[in-house]
């Protein structure tokens, strides 16, 4: 299991080198989140809570590993200033079976969205605004 919280861009191929190489892995799922240009968005700034962030993500990742018996788990999440098209974050899960790899990746995404201390501020034609959490993001947690 590996968790990275960083302002720098990351290269998924580099990060995934050797991922899931141990154990008897049959399935690897990755998710990459990218800054969209929706509504003329020109930039995004992600604030976080430095002393809490890695700890919170590690707790979420540990739960995923335990619950789905993952062979490996990777979470990378950036903070700071990002432009449209840039990668915000990625998760990867390695498991024997595909259902576990998919479910664990979706679990990680749902929890990172609402339980990891990040706040997105978008800059667009009308200035900068904090992204509001959606009720559906909170609701998504209830399926786990």
């Amino acid at each position: 299991m590996r968790v990275e919280v960083q302002s720098e861009p990351f290269d998924p191929a580099t990060e995934l080198a050797g991922f899931g190489a141990k154990g008897d892995v049959g399935a690897i799922v990755t998710f990459t989140g990218i800054v969209r240009a929706t509504g003329g968005l020109t930039g995004m700034e992600i604030e976080h809570y430095p002393s809490m962030t890695a700890k919170a993500i590690e707790a979420i990742a540990s739960e995923a590993v335990a619950r789905w018996g993952l062979d490996d788990c990777l979470v990378i999440h950036r903070y700071g200033v990002l432009s449209p098209g840039e990668q915000i974050m990625m998760v990867a899960t390695a498991s024997r079976h595909r259902a576990a790899a998919f479910e664990a990746a979706e679990f990680l995404m749902d929890y990172l969205k609402s339980r990891a201390p990040f706040w997105k501020k978008e800059t667009g034609p009308d200035g900068a605004t904090w992204v509001a959490a959606k009720d559906e993001d909170e609701d998504a947690l209830s399926r786990w």
């Binding site: 809490m52 700890k55 959490a133």
Partner: protein, 82 residues
Amino acid sequence: MLDVLYFAWVRERIGEPRERIETEAATVAELVDELRGREARYALAFSDLSALRVAIDQELAEFDSPLAGAREVAFFPPMTGG
């Protein structure tokens, strides 16, 4: 002494990212009441608790959570990671 941290629009409304506070508050809610009584910017930031989340010592907590032993309390809006 308690370190009190603010993030995102809570930080912007309060006007600073952190401060040290001398308090006898027994719960988060009591601390919020104290802060609200200080200045308008606090009253504004804490006007709707349903729009806020709180963490005690870097763990998510509730507004009725006790503050005994806490060193750091953070207030912020619902998180928008991922």
